[in-house]
Amino acid sequence: MSTSIERWRLRNGIRARWAALERDWQSVVVGATIVALVSGLGLPIPW
């Protein structure tokens, strides 16, 4: 039970932080996330 509440809080916290960011910083976060997925987890992106 407590884990689901914690997860809910975490999700809300992330959402609030994301909404508070300027769009330009959101672009940087999206870019950084993709770089982390590609370089950290070796995610291949097809074209």
Partner: protein, 327 residues
């Protein structure tokens, strides 16, 4: 903003991106131009449901993210070698366009001072974003903002078609074409689209040049705010404006360019990052296409359009001549 509100528009962008990619492969036309055309057709002929608007409006976020990722493909050695003279060209053409539009608007065509200012900002820096940023600083009216934005969008639509044709006719190299587009076209989206439609090298030069131009927005907003404030017109000026208006995704682009030049990414990782920004640009350009409303463009006044056309011709011809000598 809830994900559910964004979902219809995001799905529309994704479908448009996949369709644009498929059509481009079949027909053999550049995928970014197909994406823009698709957006224009959907919004002007079929019409998008209102539920799609919030999701489609995220297209600027995808453009910024794509530009950040593009940093990983930039050859910093080339930029350092040619960057200085190119930045001087950026400064010269930006300043010239600003002055030409202001002089023509005020002294030749008798437009109101603030409309001239908005047109000058839009034509010299970064299109509609600059119009909106300067409008806030000089307290322009909604009508003036709408007029200036429509004029900028009109020339975005024209230059998307005309620039690649001129580039092909003159057989310009990727570096010359990209820098020319970056220094003289208006909005960031069309510059990136036209650059990559010409060649990968042109796309990278176009984006780098346009980013350095966009970085000047803070200075221009500050200058105009100070000017109108001194005249007692209720404008506000602050050094904070420089940072507030600075396009922050440029920092992400520079960080990735630095990491890439340090050899942090393997070639397979670089290829994946390149694919990622190609998809992000597709999403962005489908959305950009939907913003080109032909009805709005038709409502552009003749005089503002003539002022901007003359400034575009001066800036475009001058920069092309200088760049042809430089490269």
């Amino acid at each position: 903003m809830g994900v559910r509100r964004l979902l219809p528009g995001l799905v529309a962008l994704c479908l448009g991106a996949v369709l644009a990619r498929w059509v481009a492969r079949v027909v053999g036309v550049n995928h970014l131009l197909v994406a823009i055309a698709l957006g224009v057709i959907v919004s002007n002929v079929v019409g998008l449901p209102d539920e799609c608007d919030p999701g489609v409006a995220t297209h600027k976020l995808w453009l910024g993210s794509g530009i950040v990722l593009m940093g990983a493909s930039i050859s910093t050695a080339t930029v350092l070698a040619v960057g200085g003279p190119v930045f001087l060209v950026v400064l010269a053409v930006t300043g010239l366009t600003l002055v030409v539009v202001e002089l023509l608007a005020r002294n030749v065509f008798g437009l109101t001072e603030r409309l001239g200012t908005l047109l000058a900002a839009g034509a010299s820096i970064c299109g509609v974003s600059a119009v909106v940023a300067v409008a806030g600083a000089v307290r322009a009216t909604e009508d003036q903002v709408a007029y200036a934005a429509a004029t900028v969008l009109l020339f975005d639509a024209i230059t998307i078609v005309v620039y690649p044709i001129v580039g092909d006719l003159l057989e310009l190299s990727g570096a010359v074409f990209g820098t020319w587009a970056g220094v003289s076209m208006f909005s960031t989206g069309p510059v990136v689209a036209v650059g990559f439609a010409y060649s990968d090298a042109a796309g990278q030069w176009a984006t780098m040049t346009k980013l350095s131009r966009n970085a000047l927005i803070g200075v221009v907003v500050l200058g105009y705010a100070s000017y109108y404030a001194r005249r007692g017109d209720d404008g506000t000026a602050s050094v904070r404006t420089l940072w507030a208006e600075f396009p922050k995704f440029v920092l992400g682009f520079l960080a990735l360019a630095a990491l890439s030049s340090l050899g942090v990414f393997s070639s397979a990782q670089q290829t994946s990052i390149e694919h990622a920004y190609n998809w992000l640009f597709l999403l962005a350009f489908v959305g950009l296409g939907t913003e080109i409303r032909l009805a709005d463009i038709r409502s552009t006044g003749l005089l503002p359009a003539v002022v901007v056309l003359l400034a575009l011709l001066v800036g475009s011809l001058l920069s092309l001549t200088v760049l042809s000598v430089l490269f």
